[in-house]
Symmetry: C2
Subunit: 248 residues, 2 copies
């Protein structure tokens, strides 16, 4: 293992939290929180902004989202266990937003992991949304900030997951290169090594994981390929007053 | 990333849980739990058995351990934040037991992370203790068992740590080679990649981690080198009626 920059030698820290349940242990002194749910909530959010939506309201419960079904100007989206919830036309698939003109629309979205992580971290000074789709745009913006950064993985039902961690490692790799950020936490070092093992082929994350089975059963492969393809968007969603909007 | 064996193709599972707080999410159907606290509780336990102690009673509080100070035949050991607790002659240093004849003695031990993990998992059908010191002996024994195996990392104050995860990856690597075990969890795959990044030089775990600073401040380097040196012991400590004993 090569040495990873130590925080005392650098003005700011960038750290990785592997699952929402650990957030309180990592949140201290973190001005910026990046919420990550690569498969698929945060990928869908970036895709939706890329295709014109004005704002996304993340909600915790299906009931909250259901109130917006059929309301003009609103798209109600709900996912649980990887599937669209009964009665909804949208779940957490980013491809559902591709090829549509969504200008002037608001999405109200609830998902198994991603919107839960957003609600958990909504007290952060700045909360932004990360996915492979906006990897470079997000990393370039983060490098310019003078603040500590927490990369918050949404995980899978409170457990560790590989794709969020690999993505966190990808962001971290870019931030460490800037010479401006160091790390303190073992989880951050581990994320970087996860990224190094996967960076030549992000689809290999799935080959390694038994979840490929689940993805195939749900016919999600095109969705997943889309979610693991970097730099399709320059949009950075940011939380303002409980709603995600495009960063100006 | 190469493919890691999937559980449906194999009779048994081996999984990794990164921190004690996640144990309830991973414990189901796991007949054998291996508690891991490489730096330093489980290393000290193996070292103590290797040097003759009869049994080790893991306790959760300093007060419980304190009752055994000065009692004939007992060694009271207490560690918090990496240091020996005031009033105790022993903490969690394995080197404290090296070169001593401890036959006929019982150790009563409380530590920051390791004994906490043991108490958490004490309801498991079989609970054994793992460390680099008994890596091969433990792995060879595990391969022969017909049961699901959970590798439970003690972490650092409920957070992820690198050395426990690398060790879990080392055990997993051997179990997967047997062709008898598969994995379901992303954490298990991640542990294997951690191990692959570190296996040529376990001391590199520390170079990568900012904790080297803490280790140097506490003058723990000889201790740490000892803890990261594999296969110094053939002992497998096992929990019986709340006490750790040498497996017959």
């Amino acid at each position: 293992m090569e040495t990873v920059g130590r925080s005392t030698d650098y003005p700011y820290r960038v750290e990785v939290c592997f699952m929402p349940g650990q957030y309180p242990l990592y949140a201290q002194d973190m001005g910026i929180v990046v919420v990550i749910d690569v498969l698929r909530a945060t990928s869908a959010m970036v895709a939706a902004f890329e295709h014109g939506v004005d704002r996304i309201i993340p909600v915790s419960t299906i009931e909250e989202a259901r109130q917006y079904i059929g309301r003009p100007g609103y798209i109600a989206a709900a996912e649980r266990n990887g599937e669209v919830v009964d009665g909804f036309a949208f779940g957490n698939s980013p491809l559902a937003y591709v090829g549509q003109d969504l200008r002037g629309h608001t999405i109200v979205m609830t998902t198994t992991n991603g919107t839960k992580a957003i609600n958990l971290a909504k007290g952060a000074r700045t909360l932004v949304i990360g996915s492979f789709l906006n990897l470079s745009a997000l990393s370039e913006w983060l490098v310019k900030q003078n603040d500590n950064i927490l990369l918050l993985c949404s995980g899978w039902k409170d457990k560790f997951n590989l794709e969020d961690s690999v993505f966190a490692g990808a962001v971290m790799d870019r931030l460490l290169e800037s010479g401006k950020f160091g790390v303190e936490e073992d989880s951050s070092i581990a994320a970087k090594y996860m990224y190094m093992a996967a960076r030549d082929n992000f689809m290999s994350i799935l080959k390694a994981a038994p979840r490929r089975r689940r993805i195939e059963q749900l016919h999600l492969l095109p969705d997943v390929k889309y979610c693991l393809t970097p730099d399709q968007s320059g949009v950075i969603p940011v939380l303002r007053d409980g709603e995600l909007v495009r960063m100006a």
